[in-house]
């Protein structure tokens, strides 16, 4: 396993923070880049404001636009589901 001496070769610019915003918030950046990203946010209030806003927006879209505030299953569908499971009988390949 390579030893990470953690000598950071570079830092992220504000432009890179903007470009990588969704990769950061969706959790697909490498650990090293996440570390650089966080370092930048610690030292850059404008970027921090931007990232906090985008994170909150994603959260609001998920909570206010999601299943938790969605429709319950109609009774008619509940019956259809139970039928679908019964009618289909034993699972086959």
């Amino acid at each position: 396993m390579p030893v990470d001496l953690h000598v950071k070769s570079h830092t992220l610019s504000c432009d890179e923070v903007v470009v990588k915003i969704y990769a950061y918030l969706d959790g697909v950046l490498s650990l090293e880049t996440v570390s650089l990203y966080k370092d930048h946010l610690d030292n850059c209030p404008p970027c921090r404001g931007f990232v906090e806003f985008e994170a909150k927006l994603i959260n609001i879209i998920k909570t206010k636009g999601g299943t938790a505030s969605g429709e319950s299953i109609p009774e008619s569908l509940r019956d259809k589901i139970l039928k679908a499971i019964q009618i289909s009988g034993n699972p086959t390949s």
Binding site: F53, G65, G66, I73, L77, K80, I81, I85, T92
Partner: protein, 189 residues
């Protein structure tokens, strides 16, 4: 997985399957049929489910496959053009520049959006963007899981999600102005 396990587990996902179907097809009857078909197919092909893999993702893949083959055939990429300029749009930038309520920060302004606003903005997304937003942003699937469900490369999922999010931001900005969540600066004539 036994039939009994299937019934218990699958039924616990029925509501999110139904809501996703409803918002993909935008039709109550179609979405009931979609969920019914999903349960029927899943139950019949239960032996194909690999134990240890994500059961919820497997159910959603069946739902999405059924939706695409039955209801989305005709649309394909239609309706995705005309959004080229949206990639540069930033809701944060707009709000930051034009917020007139001194007590609000841009983040606080977001609290003013109602559930109806968010849902309306999602519902208005063109199909290919709405699908990815629903699967990744709302249902929390990974890029790879969404790519498997939609049978599309991960890179395509990422670009559709990016554009979908930007179109959402643009719609939300329009609502914010229309409903007075922010005041738009008067245009100079």
């Amino acid at each position: 997985m036994t039939e009994k396990d299937f019934s218990a587990q699958a039924l616990s996902h029925a509501e999110s399957l139904y809501n996703t179907a409803l918002r993909m097809s935008r039709n109550a009857q179609d979405s009931e049929d979609l969920v019914q078909d999903t349960f029927y197919k899943a139950f019949r092909s239960l032996k194909q489910f690999q134990e240890g893999t994500n059961f919820r993702a497997w159910l959603f893949k069946i739902l999405v496959n059924t939706y695409i083959s039955k209801y989305r055939k005709a649309t394909k990429e239609k309706g995705t053009s005309g959004y080229d300029d949206v990639e540069e749009f930033s809701l944060y930038g707009q709000v930051h520049n034009r917020l007139e309520t001194p007590t609000d920060t841009p983040s606080q302004m977001l609290d003013r959006f109602l559930s109806e606003d968010i849902k309306k903005a999602i519902d208005r997304l063109p199909d290919v963007f709405r699908e990815v937003v629903l699967l990744v942003e709302i249902e929390g699937f990974s890029y790879q899981e969404a790519a498997d469900m939609l049978e599309t490369p991960v890179g395509t999922i990422m670009s559709r999600l990016f554009r979908g999010r930007k179109i959402l931001q643009k719609s939300l900005w329009d609502y914010a102005v229309d409903y007075g969540y922010v005041k738009e600066k008067k245009k100079e004539k």
